[in-house]
């Protein structure tokens, strides 16, 4: 069974990611019975059918697809994937932050695609809490990528207070 990083450890995971093959359409693609992350287009088109069938399904957002499209559906989705088509495509960092900070999404946000050790710290800060590390990389080693820095300057999902507010608190305690 494939393994992912979740809750700061490597675990076995049963979720699949559905990608439309050539010739497949969101209208016609078969809905899998096993837990699967669906492309946004499939979800938007067939939401009622999916909900009625009671299938354990999530959605994955491609880098150019914002979370706005899911604003009304978040309660129904246990997992939302955010795709990184390339290591250097940073759009999904914004998607993850928006899901957490603007839409108060509390389910799992899973990084998909070109996911490697050296993005994990930034991903974690943006509210991503599960990481489908690229299959050809050593996922146990990649764990180290979550804890590169012991402090952070900016406010983000993991630390809503910027360092300058905490520095001030430290000074007051010290005084």
């Amino acid at each position: 069974m494939p393994r992912i990083i979740k809750h700061m450890q490597v675990i076995e995971d049963h979720w699949q990611m559905l990608t439309l093959a050539e010739g497949e359409t969101p209208e016609a693609v078969a809905l899998p019975a096993e837990p699967t992350l669906l492309p946004l287009a499939v979800w938007l088109l067939r939401r009622d059918e999916i909900v009625a069938a009671g299938l354990e399904l999530g959605v994955w957002l491609d880098a150019g697809e914002g979370p706005e499209a899911l604003a009304d559906d978040l309660e129904r989705l246990p997992v939302i994937g955010v795709n990184f088509p390339k290591f250097t495509d940073g759009r999904s960092y914004s998607s993850a932050r928006l899901l957490r900070e603007r839409y108060a999404y509390h389910g799992e946000i899973r990084a998909l695609g070109d996911v490697q050790q050296d993005q994990l710290f930034y991903m974690r800060r943006c509210g991503i809490d599960a990481y489908a590390v690229r299959a050809d990389k050593d996922i146990d080693k990649a764990l180290a990528g979550l804890a590169v820095f012991s402090e952070t300057y900016q406010a983000a999902v993991d630390q809503p207070q910027p360092l300058f507010r905490r520095r001030a608190a430290h000074r007051q305690e010290a005084a």
Partner: protein, 572 residues
């Protein structure tokens, strides 16, 4: 200047460890060349024509003498005892060993320095006025705002992989010396009618292939909102900036596509969610950072120093240097001094190890142990007593750092070009050398007066040729080096993008063409006009006519091949 606390230091130390680990994984075959690339770039390491190049961050150009001594030591131990200052006020080492770069970063960390985000598609080094804190025309010291932005942009988790690089500059003076309109975001520190400090925010400026000047996206932003407002801009850019074509990926293209009004509307809409949150900057934080930029212990001095005035009257060479290299200071009896890195025979912006040590000594002795790098690739001692200028001049002259050419034709901004840079289409250093050779008479240069001549070896425009009175751009045509010339650009408050005067020139023609352009100016100027003023008054036609007079483009192309020695041709 800003000094690290234990948290700042810890973060930089952890960055060194992270990079060391990445390099080890690369050498062990766990990270491919392509996978390492974005990681090393965000630590300043390029792979260039002859090997690696390491770009070291110098935040808003501020250096202590101890840091400069460390740079000297690094250049000797890990490079060829020379460094190169850039238009982002950084330093480049052109000959480091790939495997030794983690050691170099560790050395830098020992003096509160790093190479974080000096390349890559992220927020780059924040630049500012090299006279910050001492300029008579400034509203407030811009450096605390620069440092605030440095910390905010360092390891920003959401904006580490933007569509393209992102440059921010801050100006707080009446005269813009930081070219803020040529930046992705330009910030002008202003105060509103009630005296509240804030920023005029410009967005979408940039040079490169499509030079555009920034536009005002917000007339006044109270300073406490600066970080949340910038996050709104950066988020829009991160989400909607083009990623399909690297030449259309800068924020200026997004701003252009939306129009500034629509862009501003979207920024406000995004910011409405972010404003007044935890990222709102506290007065306590402004005070904490400003405390690091308290003025040095200036003495109470008279406005004039009689010994200095007497020397000015009797020593012409000294007086010339003072005229070009000594600048007004807001405190009586003090001056700011530019040490020219534009001596003949030296690549513009280059500094030797021995010069670095000498400058560190000069800074300790004459200027409270601090100095600045200017975006024009010179060094500044910001707090020199008038009475010390003569001795400083003599010592600087001994190090070839007192060429009295600041603001003159030979004070060229120049990128390393095709001699070193893998991106370049043509060499720029031989052009700079040829200009020095052709215009080697200082009296002639003084007669020409204020003029800017900038050289870029390719469209990336690192040499800022678009905003020079005379800009030279290297282009590649069928594997030959050609040079396109623009005229009429300028930096400062009335920043202007220069206009291309016509077909490009072969290398050996460039100095002649510059001379032709200058001759038109000398013939047509009125008593008070600078080159740029005459150009604006009489228009392009007489300049164009003279530049192309007697030149047959096809014939010239056949005369010399790519491998010809430009310098020899020029001297011939």
């Amino acid at each position: 200047m800003y000094r690290y606390d234990s948290t700042d230091q810890q973060l930089i130390d952890e960055r060194v460890s992270q990079y060391r680990g990445q390099m080890a994984r690369h050498l062990a075959g766990e990270l491919s060349d392509d996978e390492l690339r974005p990681l090393r770039l965000q630590n300043g390491l390029y792979i260039q024509r002859h090997g690696p190049m390491l770009r070291i961050a110098i935040p808003y150009g501020m250096l202590s003498s101890a840091q400069l001594r460390k740079l000297a030591e690094i250049s000797r131990r890990y490079d060829r005892a020379v460094g190169h200052f850039t238009t982002r006020q950084n330093m480049q080492l052109n000959w480091p060993q790939f495997e030794e770069t983690p050691e170099i970063l560790a050395e830098l960390a020992s003096v509160e320095m790093h190479a974080v985000q000096t390349s890559g598609n992220c927020i780059r080094n924040i630049t500012s006025d090299h006279f910050a804190g001492v300029a008579p025309d400034e509203l407030v010291d811009p450096r605390p705002y620069c440092e605030l932005l440095r910390q905010w942009s360092t390891f920003h988790p959401e904006f580490a992989f933007l569509p393209r690089k992102f440059k921010i500059a801050v100006n707080a003076a009446a005269q813009d010396r930081a070219v803020i309109r040529a930046h992705d975001i330009g910030l002008e520190v202003i105060s509103d009618e009630r005296g509240e400090i804030g920023f005029k925010v410009l967005v979408g400026g940039g040079l490169g292939r499509t030079p555009i000047l920034g536009k005002v996206v917000r007339e006044f932003l109270p300073r406490r909102h600066i970080l949340s407002y910038l996050e709104a801009i950066l988020r829009l850019y991160n989400r909607y900036g083009r990623r399909d074509n690297m030449y259309k990926a800068r924020i200026k293209i997004l701003v252009q596509a939306l129009g500034i009004e629509e862009f501003a509307r979207q920024v406000e809409a995004e910011w409405a969610h972010l404003r007044n949150g935890e990222t709102t900057v506290t007065d306590a934080e402004f005070d904490r950072i400003s405390g690091h930029f308290e003025p040095p212990a200036w003495e109470a001095l008279p406005v004039e120093d009689p010994v200095h005035s007497a020397r000015l009257a009797t020593d012409k060479a000294f007086a010339n240097w003072v005229k070009r290299c000594v600048h007004a200071h807001k405190t009586p009896g003090y001056a700011a001094v530019t040490l020219s890195l534009k001596a003949p025979g030296v690549a513009p912006g280059d500094i030797s190890e021995a010069q670095m040590i000498a400058v560190a000594d000069l800074a300790d002795r004459f200027s409270f142990g601090e100095l600045r790098v200017s975006h024009e690739q010179n060094l500044i001692l910001s707090d020199v007593r008038l009475g010390d200028l003569h001795e400083l001049w003599q010592l600087a002259r001994g190090q070839r750092l007192a060429t009295a050419n600041i603001g003159l034709l030979t004070d060229m901004i120049c990128c390393p070009g095709g001699d070193l840079c893998a991106l370049a289409n043509a060499r720029s250093l031989p052009i700079a050398a040829a200009v020095h050779d052709k215009f080697d008479d200082l009296d002639y240069l003084y007669d020409i007066g204020d003029i800017s001549l900038n050289i870029s070896g390719c469209m990336n425009s690192c040499g800022h040729h678009h905003v020079a009175n005379i800009g030279i751009l290297g282009v590649d045509k069928n594997d030959e080096e050609w040079y396109q010339i623009t005229v009429g650009g300028q930096q400062g408050n009335s920043a202007t993008i220069g206009k291309v005067i016509g077909p490009s020139f072969y290398a050996q023609e460039v100095p002649e063409v510059i001379e032709a352009l200058i001759n038109v100016y000398l013939e047509q100027r009125t008593a008070s006009e600078r080159f740029i003023d005459t150009w604006q008054r009489v228009g392009a036609d007489p300049f164009k006519a003279r530049a192309y007079a007697g030149r047959d483009r096809r014939r010239t192309a056949k005369v010399a091949g790519k491998d010809s020695n430009i310098k020899e041709i020029v001297n011939a």
